[in-house]
Amino acid sequence: MVRNSEIVTISRAGVLRGMTRLLPICLFVVPFGIAFGIAATEGGIGPIQATAMSAFVFTATAQFAALDFLQEPVAFFSLGLVALALSGRHLIMGAALAQWINRLPAGKRFVVLMFLSDANFADTQMLLQRGETDLGPLLGGGLMLWITWVGSTAAGAFGGNLLGNTEALGFGVVMLCFFAATAFGMVRSTPSLLLPVIVAVVTSAITLPYLPNGWNIILAALLGGGVAALRHAE
């Protein structure tokens, strides 16, 4: 909890500190970025376009999910809803940091939130709990993640064909493994999420033949969220 008398700042030293703190994590972002660049170009998207998407969207899960929608005619409404569901966690993280972020001038608030992501959120949350009042590490960590994400997407999109037949390497499977392992990790750290996950898995699988592109996932996400909220009430 931040005290009323304390001033929240963004220091240059804090930005640099955030960048160095997240450097090791960024090494592990590289394979994701390369995989996204390859998956996007395999899906018929140009390398410049794929890199631009990483620069503007900066949300790995939403970008991977979007690849399924990028064919004519684009189901924009479903795409928007899936993206909303996949980046909805940013809303939670922004809310959690609000008591610090809302003490900054509006312009700085905007810049810091633009680079909000899972890893710099987790890192900064730890620093703020210790009583620090510098949001520099949040911005610096976010910048480092953004540079890595955009750079590694470009490497995969422009250099992917140097790796030969990537389909034979199983890169197309990477996305599914990433999602499966991420969901598994989330349930392990919060076991009460197991029931929502089961409900979502069953719902999406059963309704797949009956609902248009993406809607089975939206329905499954809403039901999963509803189950999580109901369980909390018990």
């Binding site: 005619p73 599914l176 499966a180 996950v197 699988a205 909390h232």
Partner: protein
């Protein structure tokens, strides 16, 4: 084939949604007090959408993809690492044709 305009619109939509969710948490908190139940709903929704994507893809997937994804989950359980899970999935998918 996807037209340039469709692609630009899709990226603009994704970018706006991503930016909107990044900004709105702090903005909303200036106005409302979120209940624990709302947080639980959002948390449940974020894991459910990921699980639903996996399930939905696996229903239509070939056996190689299912076996590779299953291996990734097993490795994620053993190693607690998403990266090792992905590596395992890639290796299994690459090695799979040798066994059939």
């Amino acid at each position: 084939m996807l037209s340039d305009w469709s692609y630009i619109l899709a990226v603009a939509l994704l970018g706006l949604v991503a930016l909107g969710t990044r900004l709105s948490g702090a903005v909303l908190m200036a106005w409302v007090t979120p209940t624990p139940r709302v947080e639980k709903f959002l948390q449940g929704m974020s894991v459910s959408v990921i699980a639903a994507l996996v399930a939905s893809s696996l229903v239509a997937a070939d056996l190689k993809t299912i076996v590779a994804t299953g291996s990734a989950i097993v490795v994620a359980a053993g190693s607690r690492s998403v990266i090792w899970a992905m590596v395992a999935g890639i290796i299994v998918a690459a090695a799979y044709p040798q066994f059939i």
